[in-house]
Symmetry: C2
Subunit: 230 residues, 2 copies
DNA sequence: ATCCTCTCTTTGAGTAATCAAAGTAGGATA
DNA sequence: TATCCTACTTTGATTACTCAAAGAGAGGAT
């Protein structure tokens, strides 16, 4: 088993792990190109100077490629570690919901600390207990232990077919208030619903589902709810 | 300053938590008196100078009382925090064994990292899931959430009555090899056995139990197995 | 009475991560 | 072409540890 990232010599600190995780996230949004240093600083909630020196250090250890005044991109090694951290984060989230019964709106925060403290051995036991799941409570895919991220292409409520029954597959926001809203209106992953109509001018999307009242969402909220065909 | 060790509200760094935990342990062994700085340095595996400066910092924040060239003792505040850390450690250990199925010989090491990353919310869920246990897998008492340590007085295999059936209640050693030995010879907490005789000269204690062959232990090993009356 | 030894303390330096503030590169504006 | 703005980098300082090595106190031995 690969051991360069394991506990012992040369293990990444939790700060390094967080930078890599953030970088991976930014890179997905930025469509694979270079991530601007400003974006890194904002996402990590540090001053620009801190981001620069940290990214330089990551480049030094071969985890990222850094172009001064250009931006930063994960190296193969860095992406592998980022996916490992993401796997720990998402498995822990699912574990906290399914085994310990925490609310899905709070597990992202809780997993933030635990993802850096859990050993491969404990993670393997959690994986086993959860029967090798492929998605976390928000529908986010869980990277495999080999570092592959199984990704499906999903349409959001602003793109999917009108009048057809679809199932919620993923919620693209970890904000507790938004997740509580989703829960309150029965839009959690697994729920089936139909998009009735969209109004460009009103910036709204109207949906209906069995057993629950009709609901209208703004576009920016509707974009965060991803669905799959039933 | 009075709160340099804080991370949020009243949260000590994991280094501070480890010093307090070690100090608590040393204090139990030392019978409540002052703990020598050398003992702290050895137990924490740091140089004497590091121990001195760290203890001075702990004294600065009111967690210990420190007498230069005399020694150190936990303050009321420090003992409270130490017991809180001990509670997290032991609940996590029991959780790792009972829920995740890890071997009891390895959970002390695993809990070492996790005890600093677990929130009160998650800890409360674990406590609930385990039905509010009072001892960990080694029989060590779990401090209550209010910081009380319920302690029974137990006799070891070198002190208990001869010829009477007793039950193993606690194993006073976290060393993996010793715990594996205990497991292999069916001496885990809960097991019933009888001490047949002791030999001062041979430094040995002989025991028997149902379904298993007779066994002779050296005194130093026998001292680590604590038993209760059946 | 001095020396020796052991334990502990002090000092100086290093590492990882951070901020504030000053400096610079380079494109947009005029 | 000159200037200006924004984004980024550099610099210097700080915090929370840590070690190595030098210094000091308190005891016993010679």
């Amino acid at each position: 088993m690969s051991s360069w990232y394991s506990k012992g010599s040369g293990m990444a600190t939790s700060t390094v792990e967080n930078y890599l995780k953030t970088l991976y996230d930014q890179q997905q949004r930025a469509g694979g190109g270079l991530v601007a240093m400003g974006a890194v600083a904002t996402a990590m909630d540090v001053t620009p100077g801190t981001a620069t020196s940290m990214v330089k250090a990551l480049a030094e250890s071969g985890l990222v490629d850094y172009e001064p005044r250009g931006g930063v991109r994960l190296s193969t090694k860095g992406e592998k570690l980022a996916l490992h951290v993401l796997r720990r984060h998402r498995l822990v989230e699912l574990f906290l919901v399914d085994v310990l019964g925490l609310d899905w709106s709070e597990v992202d925060q809780e997993a933030e600390e635990l993802e850096h403290a859990i050993s491969d051995k404990v993670l393997a036991k959690i994986d086993e207990l959860l029967k090798y799941p492929s998605v976390d409570p928000h529908g986010d895919p869980i990277p495999t232990s080999k570092g592959k991220l199984p990704s499906r292409t999903l349409a959001s409520l602003v793109e999917c077919d009108l009048g057809r029954t679809v199932r919620v597959a993923r919620v693209m926001d970890q904000n507790a208030a938004f997740l509580q809203f989703v829960d309150r209106h029965h839009l959690k992953p697994g729920t089936e619903l139909v998009v009735r109509h969209r109004d460009e001018i009103a910036d709204a999307v109207s949906i209906t589902s069995k057993n629950h009242p009709a609901l209208t969402l703004g576009t920016s909220a509707a974009m965060k709810i991803l669905v799959e065909a039933v």
